[in-house]
């Protein structure tokens, strides 16, 4: 599904160059539920953006569903994004002047689906996410959790192969975060690859595979079986880190 081979990416700011990704090799299979973790500046969001074709990379190769994603025209990239990928952002990124249903239906507009039909499909997706009654509300009339569910519906409506989520729970409280993760889990159960970027261990622990980035390289990959161990380690680490503050 996704094959990354020695991906490098630098940001040039004036005379300084910041080497963010220093050779990422990664394979993600269809149906995986993956989280990407790492400290600030480890390059986790950059990696996700490259995966979603929102950003380009400097060297290496990236194959998505067998297609080499490199130096493609924006038109082609838009088509790939529309067909293959659904995005979920930390700040939801709904179009503020469109209501929930119109926001969800938007990807289908770019596919050329007639208004009536796409609005009907959008309503179905909103219903699945329990937001049918909110279809005509504007984004600013909804809570964070509701907005994120609208964003998920929008990501799903074009029936993508991959959902890419950048800190999907970053702006939500923990109860809502778990709801969102439950939804993503269900999405994954339908066979869609879900890749999330997060810095919250409990969120990451709900995925099947955790990719930990450190200084632009993959530090470790924790697979399903090792998750319990990971959780335990993490809890210890957290306790150890917190002790001094109580003393």
């Amino acid at each position: 599904m996704i094959r990354l081979n020695n991906i490098n990416k630098s940001y040039v700011m004036g005379s300084n160059s910041l080497h963010v990704l220093k050779g990422i090799d990664l394979q993600i299979e269809q149906g995986d539920f993956v989280s990407i973790m790492g400290s600030s500046g480890s390059g986790k969001s950059t990696l996700l953006n490259i995966l979603g074709m929102l950003d380009n990379y400097d060297s290496g190769t990236y194959h998505l569903s067998g297609n080499l994603i490199q130096n493609m025209s924006e038109k082609k990239a838009a088509k790939y994004r529309n067909d293959l990928v659904g995005f979920i952002f930390q700040s939801f990124n709904l179009i503020s002047f469109k209501n929930a249903m119109e926001n969800v239906a938007l990807p289908l507009y770019y596919k050329g689906v007639p208004r009536k039909k796409r609005n009907q499909i959008a309503l179905e997706y909103l219903e699945k996410l329990g937001l049918k009654d909110w279809a005509n509300h504007m984004p600013n009339e909804m809570s964070g959790g509701q907005k994120q569910r609208v964003a998920i519906a929008r990501a799903l409506i074009s029936q993508p192969k991959i959902i890419l989520a950048d800190e999907p729970t970053g702006a939500l409280d923990s109860a809502t975060s778990y709801e969102v993760m439950d939804i993503l889990k269900k999405v994954n159960d339908d066979g869609i690859t879900v890749i999330i970027v997060t810095h919250e261990h409990d969120i990451a622990a709900m995925t099947n595979q955790i990719i930990r980035l450190k200084d632009g390289l993959i530090h470790e990959i924790i697979r399903n079986g090792e998750l319990k161990q990971f959780q335990k380690e993490y809890t210890h680490g957290l306790e150890a880190a917190q002790i001094p503050s109580y003393v």
């Binding site: 929102l54 924006e74 994004r81 995005f87 469109k98 990807p107």
Partner: protein
């Protein structure tokens, strides 16, 4: 190629961004509106003034006498003199460039009320004229007829009177035609009520307060002898009236023993010169209209561009999101351009309609004001209005394209993160 979906998207985007849409539209609206109203007002002034002079023969010149300022042939300076009836025949016979020649006598104007009818009395401007005068300064009979050659020949005691004379000398239901007026002691029969077609006024006083009687009758009835106070002439086609004016002045000086270098003794005036002045004035007004119009338009363009630039940020992020969910650059640009064109065309159309509406209301008010206003028939130049609209629409497109181009040229992620 009407894409209903595209248009419903555009209209909903415009509706939801009311403030932005309104401000953009208002810039365009105001530019067009002001341009229309201004150019209409300029045109109205031009029409108003030109209507007042259009019917006047532009090839006409006028002569009167003043006291001499140079001693000549034994005469001292400061001599009072008059033209003579013999001048009329002499000019007719010897100056071939003259088309119409109409001498004039002035009636007694110092005596207060010079016109009496029963218990009514009034002070009016009484002139003794040749029928040719009506060909130089156009008057039309509102009732009855104009003074004609037979009146002249038979020295009939008939008169033409202006509208104000009718008001003063006759009751509301009275028909003045056939009635008699006692003018400076002599009875004249009214044969016509006359209406002045121009507002150029030779000899002072209001044109509505004019009484015209045949030159020959006036001369005989009031003992003017062979005096002539005033000449109107027109030049034949192909002759410049200014040249004719100079020629006649030289000739009249010779005939009346006036020094050739006396600049004061003959007063004269020609309409051609005045028309040149008028034309220069209107060229000036038109130029001013254009300058202010272009200025207004520029302000509109800057306003539209400014608003479009202000919304770059908002737009960039919106476009970034749209691209992330599958909008191609072509779609994005098509949307934004269609949005600006739609908005500017609608606003321009409203500005155009309202501007024309305001001019129409103005016109109605002016029509009620009657003939005396130097301001009438505000018109607009449609070509000018449409080209102004085109400029604004193009400005709108460019202003819309700038943020759109920028938003599609950077990476989608940068557009989304744009703050």
């Amino acid at each position: 190629m009407f894409d209903l979906d595209l248009w419903s998207e555009i209209i909903s985007a415009l509706k939801k961004n009311r403030m932005r849409s309104f401000m953009t539209a208002f810039g365009v609206f105001w530019g067009i509106f002001m341009l229309i109203v201004m150019s209409g007002a300029g045109k109205a002034l031009e029409n108003g003034v030109l209507d007042g002079v259009r019917a006047f023969a532009t090839n006409s010149a006028f002569f009167w006498t003043e006291r001499t300022s140079v001693p000549y042939e034994g005469f001292q300076r400061g001599r009072r003199w008059n033209y003579e009836t013999s001048d009329i025949d002499y000019i007719r016979d010897n100056v071939k460039e003259v088309e119409y020649l109409s001498p004039r006598l002035f009636g007694n104007q110092q005596a207060g009320n010079n016109t009496i009818r029963g218990e009514r009395a009034g002070a009016f401007n009484v002139y003794g004229d040749y029928p040719d005068y009506f060909k130089i300064d156009r008057w039309t009979p509102a009732k009855g007829r104009l003074i004609n050659d037979i009146d002249m020949l038979q020295e009939r005691k008939v008169c033409n009177i202006g509208e104000r004379v009718v008001e003063v000398m006759f009751g509301k239901d009275e028909d003045p035609i056939g009635q008699y007026l006692k003018i400076s002691g002599v009875y004249f029969q009214v044969v016509g009520v006359i209406h002045a077609e121009t507002r150029i006024n030779i000899g002072g006083g209001k044109k509505e307060e004019t009484i015209i009687i045949p030159f020959s009758t006036m001369r005989k009835a009031y003992n003017y002898g062979n005096r002539v106070y005033f000449f109107s002439v027109t030049s034949k086609p192909g002759t410049k009236v200014s040249d004719l004016e100079e020629k006649l002045k030289t000739l009249l000086k010779e005939r009346h023993k006036i020094a050739p270098d006396d600049q004061q003794a003959i007063g004269s005036f020609n309409i051609e010169k005045e028309f040149v002045k008028f034309n220069a004035l209107f060229l000036g007004i038109q130029g001013l209209t254009w300058i202010v119009g272009i200025g207004t338009l520029l302000a509109g363009v800057i306003g539209v561009s400014n608003i479009m630039l202000v919304i770059i940020k908002e737009r960039t992020q919106e476009i970034g999101i749209q691209r992330a969910i599958g909008a191609t650059p072509a779609t994005v640009i098509k949307h934004i351009v269609a949005e600006s064109v739609f908005l500017t065309v609608m606003a321009g159309y409203i500005g155009l309609s309202l501007g024309v509406g305001v001019l129409e209301i103005l016109n109605q008010i002016l029509l009620r004001g009657g003939d005396k206003l130097f301001f009438r028939n505000p018109e607009i130049n449609l070509t000018m209005a449409l080209s102004a609209l085109a400029v604004l629409v193009i400005a709108g497109i460019i202003a819309g394209l700038i943020p759109a181009k920028r938003a599609v040229s950077i990476k989608p992620i940068d557009a989304i993160r744009d703050e």
